[in-house]
């Protein structure tokens, strides 16, 4: 099978990292070309890499050389715009790394196309009146994508329309996609390789004493990560918090940073909580290596799967997560799950784990064993190829359905006319499926 694997390839893209690993494994089973649209320096790959200037620059003859196109989607417009445009023209398999694609479309319609009307239309088309209202709010200074409401308007539906098949990295998201997409869907555990072998600096270099218990949270600092709740929980530990260091590794906006610092002062945790901002990869690896507990809360869950949680598990760490989305599907003996409606439990969980190194080790070891086999690129490649076969086998009937739909469209046949049911019934009747 000849696969065109469309992905960002930038060093700054985590999806690019996953793509390189997966493509390398997939190349054992199929002919894979990584196809990307970025100029300048990009990651290296073990398979042939094809660069294109834009979706428009790709002609059909080139695409016809492949049996299937695979499109990797994330919420960040600059990395995924051309991929999106191409997927409209040339249906393929869509891999949804993020559930929430709202930021992508907001940026596309509002910043790229300067068309608030198109953004509003999209919201209304997919979500009806509530969507139209939310769009109106967004346009009048209360952006939906910066509120917790965004979970109700994810906009992934716009990405999957017309796809031949959709891959997600968690079962809950696959089910959600299947409610809006009638073609084949598959959940495949995200491929992730963690670099545990490169040497890291000792703890002292990080400024953390050996007798302090190190807690970390990794990633872009925003309300979704529930850091305020962590600060409150640490505050409720009273003097016991003095034995801890809580390092927050990731950039924050100045206002939000001020807000968090205010919470730190209120809870008298100045010696405990440290905001380190964005750190280079090798520094991050050092923190991960030395961490005693990883705090990886999310609410609502916006990612299809959490690369950071997977990485933390691959480093053999005990991870505290919110019991939602992707995290709910993690085995109970590998991570500690907090009920999002009962965030107060966090204080109790923290004090227990801080006091019990054996429990921490047990969790960390279990997490490592699980993650090591679940998130392999070789497994991803094999399952993806299997899905590709399934998707290709579905094509003849899908293509027939498309042709019929096109004729119905040309004749102005409305969705509620009896012929629509007749077609579904007859096709199902003779071909054995919808």
């Amino acid at each position: 099978m000849r696969i065109a694997w469309f992905t960002p390839l930038s060093r700054k893209s985590a999806i690019a990292r996953a793509s390189v690993a997966i493509a390398a494994e997939l190349a054992q089973l199929a002919d894979v070309h990584i196809c990307h649209f970025e100029p300048g320096e990009v990651r290296e790959a073990a398979v042939p890499v094809k660069r294109f200037a834009s979706a428009a620059a790709l002609d059909d003859r080139t695409l016809e050389n492949y049996d299937l196109a695979v499109y990797n989607f994330g919420n960040y417009l600059p990395f995924h715009r051309e991929i999106f445009l191409l997927s409209r023209h040339w249906p393929g398999i869509c891999i949804l790394h993020d559930i929430i694609m709202h930021h992508f479309f907001a940026a596309y319609y509002l910043e790229d196309l300067h068309s608030p009307a198109a953004y509003s239309l999209l919201m209304e088309r997919l979500y009806g009146e509530p969507g139209a209202s939310a769009a109106a709010r967004s346009l009048s200074g209360q952006p939906v994508w910066e509120s917790s409401e965004v979970g109700s308007f994810p906009l992934f539906e716009e990405v999957v329309q017309g796809a031949l098949g959709v891959v997600t990295h968690s079962e809950f998201f696959r089910r959600r996609v299947a409610q809006n997409f009638t073609g084949p869907t598959r959940r495949i555990p995200l491929a992730y390789d963690a670099d545990r072998s490169s040497p890291v600096v000792p703890r002292s270099h990080l400024g953390v004493e050996e007798d302090r218990v190190l807690l970390i949270t990794v990633g872009h600092v925003n309300p979704n990560k529930r850091i305020e709740a962590v600060i409150e929980a640490l505050g409720s530990l009273g003097s016991a918090a003095g034995r801890l260091v809580y390092a927050v590794l990731g950039p924050a906006s100045p206002e939000y940073q001020r807000k968090l610092e205010e919470a730190v002062r209120r809870n008298r945790l100045e010696g405990v909580v440290r905001f380190l901002g964005h750190v280079p990869d090798d520094v991050l690896r050092a923190w991960l290596s030395h961490a005693d507990i990883c705090i990886n809360l999310r609410f609502p869950a916006t990612e299809g799967a959490s690369a950071s949680a997977i990485e933390e598990m691959l480093f053999g760490k005990p991870v505290i997560v919110t019991d939602t989305g992707f995290y709910s599907e993690l085995p109970a003996d590998c991570v500690v799950k907090i009920d999002p409606a009962r965030e107060d439990d966090l204080a109790g969980v923290l004090s227990r784990l801080v006091a019990d190194p054996a429990a921490r080790k047990a969790l960390g070891d279990a997490a490592w064993r699980f993650a090591e086999s679940e998130y392999r690129a070789s497994r991803y490649a094999k399952e993806l190829l299997d899905f590709a076969w399934e998707v290709r086998a579905a094509r003849p009937l899908l293509t027939l359905a498309d042709r019929v739909a096109n004729e119905c469209y040309r004749m102005g046949i409305a969705a509620d006319m009896p012929i629509v049911d007749t077609i579904a019934r007859e096709m199902g009747g003779i071909f054995g499926r919808r």
Partner: protein, 345 residues
């Protein structure tokens, strides 16, 4: 060329369109083409079935065919890149019959939705043809009015023109063809009593209902009418028809609102005999020009009687009008050379 002729089909029923399709196929072969007559079943009751058949036609294929000639709805939707229409029929129930008692489709939301689909389908697919021909001015006008499409009239010839003869201009008006209420032979029979000349009427053809037969028999049986109305209630042979035309004074063809001029009109002019028709007969006016090639009168017994009397009283004029009609047919190129040339162009 390898040519597919697309017609619809109701099993076990053959009408004018079927005969024309057969004739077209035969003529295409005669002119050196390879014809294939494609007859697609059509069911229109209940109305939802119409859509089923429209879609079915879109899903059929014509491999190894150079040209498709499409005649009727919905068979004319079968896709082909090199298609020419010789439109005999749109689905009139959605067009000029809508709002009349012949509407056929129910005036409900569903019925209107079906009508709208038919119109939209015609608007979507007919323009894809290389060229649209129709069988009459009436059909062309409707196509322009309802669908905004231009078309050229291409009159359908009879299978053979050469067997018609012109003998005497006798004493009777000939009225051949299927006998039913739309063709209004009864009206002709009723007119005879108002004739002042000894002109006679010969009605010949198969009746479709017992009622029509009885009514004409009764009119023929009335006192004084025995020699005036002759009624042959059966299917007549070609040779009989040719003979009766050749010896007739003229022909009467007075259907109600037909699209085309009708084969009878054409047969009459090929026999060089004038035609009497009515002002509400529809497309007969393409050939029957009042005072020039025949008479066009109100559908009313005295007017019809007067027209018949006029022919009888001035046989020279009748002859002239018959010849004029023949010349008109020639000038309109109602022949297979013209038809085949245009449809295979």
């Amino acid at each position: 060329m390898k040519i597919a002729v697309l017609n619809n089909c109701v099993p076990f029923l053959r009408g004018g369109a079927e005969h024309l399709a057969d004739a077209l196929a035969a003529k295409l072969a005669e002119y050196g083409h390879q014809p294939l007559l494609v007859r697609v079943p059509f069911r229109w009751e209940p109305p939802q079935k119409i859509i089923d058949h429209m879609l079915a036609c879109r899903l059929l294929r014509l491999p190894n065919v150079d040209r498709a000639i499409a005649l009727k709805f919905p068979a004319f939707y079968v896709p082909h890149p090199n298609k020419v229409f010789w439109l005999l029929h749109q689905f009139r129930q959605a067009y000029d019959l809508w709002g009349t008692r012949f509407q056929g489709l129910p005036d409900t939301a569903d019925g209107r939705a079906i009508r709208d689909v038919i119109v939209q389908a015609d608007n979507s697919y007919l323009p894809e043809a290389r060229k649209i021909y129709t069988n009459s001015r009436v059909t062309s006008d409707r196509l322009k009015k309802f669908n905004g499409l231009d078309s050229e009239v291409l009159y359908p010839p009879l299978l053979s023109h050469s067997q018609y003869l012109c003998g005497e201009y006798g004493d009777y008006i000939f009225c051949p063809g299927r006998i039913n209420a739309t063709k209004r032979q009864r009206l002709l029979a009723e007119s005879m009593q108002f004739c002042r000349t000894p002109v006679a009427l010969l009605v010949a053809g198969k009746t479709e209902t017992a009622g029509d037969a009885e009514a004409i028999q009764a009119l023929a049986g009335r006192s004084g009418m025995e020699k005036r109305i002759r009624f042959i209630d059966r299917f007549i042979a070609e040779s009989e028809k040719v003979e009766w035309f050749s010896q007739s004074l003229g022909c009467a063809y007075i259907p109600y609102d037909e699209d085309s001029y009708g084969y009878v009109t054409l047969e009459s002019y090929l026999s060089r005999k004038p035609v009497i028709t009515c002002t509400d007969s529809g497309g007969t006016d393409a050939l029957v020009k009042d005072g020039v090639t025949g008479h066009r009168v109100a559908p009313e017994p005295r007017a019809l009687a007067a027209a018949m009397d006029q022919l009888y009283a001035d046989k020279q004029k009748a002859r002239n009008m018959g010849e004029a009609g023949y010349a008109l047919v020639q000038s309109l190129r109602i022949n297979w050379d013209n038809v085949v040339e245009k449809l295979t162009r």
